[in-house]
């Protein structure tokens, strides 16, 4: 490869990196929903990320799917109240504050707004 081609290539990759950076910048302080391998989801404001997709979220809440016991309880209550239609069970939600979600566990990412 000629030197000129190399320079062009590195310039192109530089540009790509710049584009990537400005794209990622648009997520800062946006509310992200990050799903991870164990089924939990974290909802918080993005503060920081890097090339391994480790993400720091602030003011984060953790969401977890209801357990069997939770579903059972909801179903029982629903039945006892003699109601028909869908049983509603809220996801378990709790505040966890400032967290870093390592990129390796991220399965899905969503952004609000």
């Amino acid at each position: 490869m000629s030197t000129a081609a190399l320079v062009a290539l590195s310039k192109a990759s530089e540009r790509a990196a710049e584009d990537a950076e400005s794209y990622l910048n648009t997520f800062l302080n946006k509310t992200l929903h990050i799903h991870i391998t164990d089924g939990r989801m974290f909802v918080g404001q993005m503060k920081c990320t890097d090339n391994e997709r480790n993400i720091i979220l602030a003011m984060t809440h953790e969401y977890r799917q209801p357990s069997k016991a939770d579903v059972q309880l909801a179903a029982d209550r629903h039945e006892r109240a003699g109601r028909s239609g869908n049983v509603k069970v809220d996801m378990k939600k709790r505040f966890v504050g400032l967290v870093v979600v390592p990129g390796q566990y991220v399965t899905k990412m969503e952004v609000e707004g």
Binding site: D38, C48, L73, N86
Partner: protein, 761 residues
């Protein structure tokens, strides 16, 4: 692993449900749909950016960060790493279940109930001791069930459903007895928490108030809890239990019931609580352990920004001691704030200090309880308001037998009457002094390091109050001419009562801030001399101030005897005794401080105590840093380092210095002997007689120790022919000194150097 773990998980759930129960399966299926919807957040405008984000992130250079400009890496260090078992409180290890595997509804043996209750008692006191609820009480699965957001009134282990009537004995013990006990416990967390939070305390140092997102059954009335406990007591009698076991459970239920009663103010019998606890203690060995009823897995559901922490292990013996101590502290807090102590501000001041210096220091709840008793309302006792307390303080110290501070003068409404005019000025001064005055009590209810720190912050406030006092004194003099007496330089001086009063309190706080510095061990060995010298200086200021007040008091006495106003005469006589005792005590402080400054200074001159090697430090800057709390004072400017050096120069050689120490201590001992003869009424130590006697004893022992150490120094120097050693003659080779840590001192505030001969190796 699928991209989104949830649908599969719920699916699995539905399948399992299928085997068990048809309706459950339907419910689960519906739920799966719902959850899917909820997770997609379509309505809230959420868009999937997984691929784009991943691709963009890959473009970054290793180590390159995309971050919010206001977000610092320092903050980032505090972030909890998800999926790290040590950091992520929600992490469930492979093969583990999310919930603890224990059915809280199952019947238990009575002796297992005893164990659970005792374990809860251990964890509850650990919370009082400063551990978070997440590591203590909340780890109980029974408590956790009652606090569950899914639970509802009347709060049972069946999420609010009332268990059937046909319960076995073992089930009754759980659903009636243990439930009632747990409800009682939850209220016994809620009420102390309320008291602590309504008073001053330091979250980081003293106590964790955090509830981790839980609520302490706010909707449940304490009456209902008390009733549940009464029902539980009946239940214990109805089920068939061996007598000793039944008695053991009853003792525990009674303890909870009584504890609730004292917290609710229905009873004030803390000592009865000790008796109840003793009964529980004597039957503790009946308990049969059931560790499965507790689990730190509950932390997975608690709102927390801390890593998971193990459940606390507290031994019963330790917990028992702590409980007894807590109750004893409460008994003492009640006693020290009894009406007859509250009548006298100075007795009450001593009482507050006596409480703070109980060994070991009372915990946060006990200290908050005392604050609540003192400052919870605007009355300090039934017929003593805070205003009365402050006025009595002023009268006792500076205006005994003077109509200026007579409560009757405050009742006069004739606008032209000088008493009315004066009382208005005094009243307005009191308004300004009020908060800081009450702080004199409140600050002492904090932990030891905080007492010192808040004292240093209060000094400038009291200094500016002195300015207000000066102005008010001028006003008083303008309205009704105040008496003047010939001053030390021949010029006439006035009492200036409010200035003298403010100054007395200010200098007291300044001196105590230094003394607490010794107690909390913040001074380096080479600073001892300067700090004792400063303490001596302030003590001198204080005792001359007191003598100034005394002169006017004696003068007032002469007029009063002529006027035959018996109430004023009695008041003045009492004040004379009180001032006398203060002068003696402050003189003792001064003499001790001067003696120690002398001894430590001599040891420094002889190179036995030497400053550490500091490459950049300058003596002047170190001085300024240490004097910071006193630097801004207008009325008592801090002495300069040159002044300190000047006074140190005159101390002469070793034997002269030792001689001076001996002389000073001799006088101090005489003062102590004199003050020892004074009655509790005279020196105002009513209610704290024991502590008073102990304190005087400690001061005497300190005096003796000082003389012993000085003569030891003389002996060694004689042996080596260095009696006339002066600054610059090093005795490092022959003399060795050690400074006792606080616990090993005769008095926490007095560091007497231990001198010995250096053995040649």
């Amino acid at each position: 692993m699928p991209q989104d773990g949830l649908p599969e998980a719920t699916h699995e759930l539905a399948v399992k449900g299928d085997e068990a129960d048809g309706s459950l399966a339907t419910a689960a299926r519906r739920l799966a749909q719902e959850a899917k919807q909820a997770l997609s957040f379509g309505a809230r405008g959420v868009s999937d950016v997984t691929e784009e984000f991943a691709a963009a992130a890959k473009q970054l250079r290793p180590g390159q960060l995309v971050k919010d400009e206001y977000f610092t890496l320092f903050e980032a260090v505090g972030a909890l790493e998800i999926m790290d078992p040590k950091m992520d409180s929600g992490y469930v290890p492979p093969g583990d279940t999310f919930d603890a595997d224990f059915d809280v509804c199952r019947g238990l043996e009575a002796i297992e109930i005893i164990w659970i209750i005792d374990e809860l008692l251990c964890l509850e006191i650990a919370w009082h001791d400063g551990y978070p609820l997440s590591q203590t009480v909340f780890t109980s699965l029974h408590i956790d069930r009652l606090l569950s957001p899914d639970n509802r009134k009347p709060y049972t282990f069946l999420y609010g459903e009332v268990p059937g009537v046909e319960l076995s004995d073992e089930q009754q013990l759980v659903h009636t007895v243990l439930r009632a006990y747990c409800l009682g416990l939850i209220k016994c967390i809620q009420l102390p928490l309320h008291i602590v939070q309504s008073q001053n305390f330091y979250e980081e140092e003293d106590f964790v108030t955090h509830l981790f997102g839980q609520e302490l059954l706010e909707k449940l009335k304490t009456d209902d809890v008390a009733k549940a406990l009464d029902d539980a007591l009946r239940c214990v009698r109805n089920v068939h239990l061996p007598a000793d076991v039944a008695e053991a459970i009853e003792a525990r239920l009674w303890f909870r019931r009584q504890y609730l009663a004292v917290l609710l103010g229905e009873s004030s019998d803390w000592s009865n609580l000790i008796t109840r606890h003793e009964k529980a203690n004597s039957s503790h060995e009946l308990a049969k352990p059931l560790p499965a009823a507790f689990s730190d897995k509950v932390q997975r559901q608690l709102a927390t920004s801390t890593p998971p922490r193990p459940m606390l292990e507290v031994s019963w013996t330790h917990a028992y001691k702590k409980w007894t101590k807590l109750c004893a502290d409460m008994v003492e807090a009640d006693r020290l704030t009894s009406v007859w102590i509250c009548q006298s501000p100075h007795c009450l001041q001593r009482a507050t200090w006596a409480f703070a210096y109980r060994e070991p220091q009372p915990g946060t709840f006990a200290r908050a309880y005392l604050q609540d008793r003192l400052l919870g309302s605007d009355m300090i006792a039934e017929d003593v308001s805070h205003f009365d307390l402050l006025l009595t303080d002023i009268r006792d110290l500076v205006l005994a037998g003077d109509p200026l501070a007579d409560p009757a003068s405050f009742q006069i409404e004739v606008p032209t009457d000088p008493r009315h005019l004066c009382s208005r000025h005094i009243g307005s001064f009191m308004d300004k002094a009020f908060e800081e005055y009450l702080n004199l009590y409140r600050m002492v209810c904090q932990n030891r390091c905080r007492i010192r720190r808040t004292f240093t912050q209060t000094i400038p406030i009291l200094d500016s109050l002195e300015t207000v006092a000066k102005e008010t004194d001028e006003e008083l003099h303008r309205i009704s001419s105040q008496r003047s007496l010939p001053g030390p330089e021949g010029t006439p001086v006035r009492l200036n009562p409010l200035t003298s009063w403010t100054r007395y309190h200010k200098i007291s706080i300044m001196a105590k801030s230094i003394q607490l510095g010794f107690e909390t061990d913040i001074y380096l060995p080479d600073e001892l001399c300067a700090m004792y010298w400063l303490l001596g200086t302030y003590s001198l200021t204080q005792s001359s101030g007191l003598k100034h007040i005394e002169r006017f008091l004696l003068d007032r006495m002469k007029t009063l005897t002529k006027a035959r106003n018996s109430r004023y005469v009695a008041e003045t006589l009492a004040s004379q005794d009180w001032i006398r005792s203060l002068v003696l005590l402050w003189e003792t402080t001064r003499l001790l401080a001067v003696a120690l400054a002398n001894l430590c200074g001599t040891l420094m001159d002889l190179d036995v105590i030497s400053p550490p090697a500091r490459s950049y430090a300058q003596e002047r800057l170190l001085w300024d840093a240490r004097m910071k709390p006193y630097m801004t004072l207008v009325h008592d400017p801090v002495p300069s380092i040159d002044e300190f050096h000047r006074t140190r120069q005159g101390t002469g050689d070793l034997s002269t210095a030792c001689e001076a120490v001996d002389q000073g201590i001799k006088t101090a001992k005489q003062h102590l002997a004199e003050v020892k003869k004074m009655s509790p009424q005279q020196a105002k130590y009513l209610g704290t007689e024991e502590q008073w006697a102990r304190e005087l004893k400690q001061l005497e022992t300190t005096c003796v120790a000082l003389v012993v150490q000085t003569s030891q120094l003389m002996k060694i120097s004689e042996k080596h022919g260095k009696k006339e050693a002066r600054k610059g003659d090093s005795m490092r080779e022959v003399v060795e000194v050690s400074l006792p840590e606080p616990a090993k001192r005769y008095h926490l505030w007095w560091v007497v150097p231990q001198i010995s001969e250096r053995k040649r190796s």
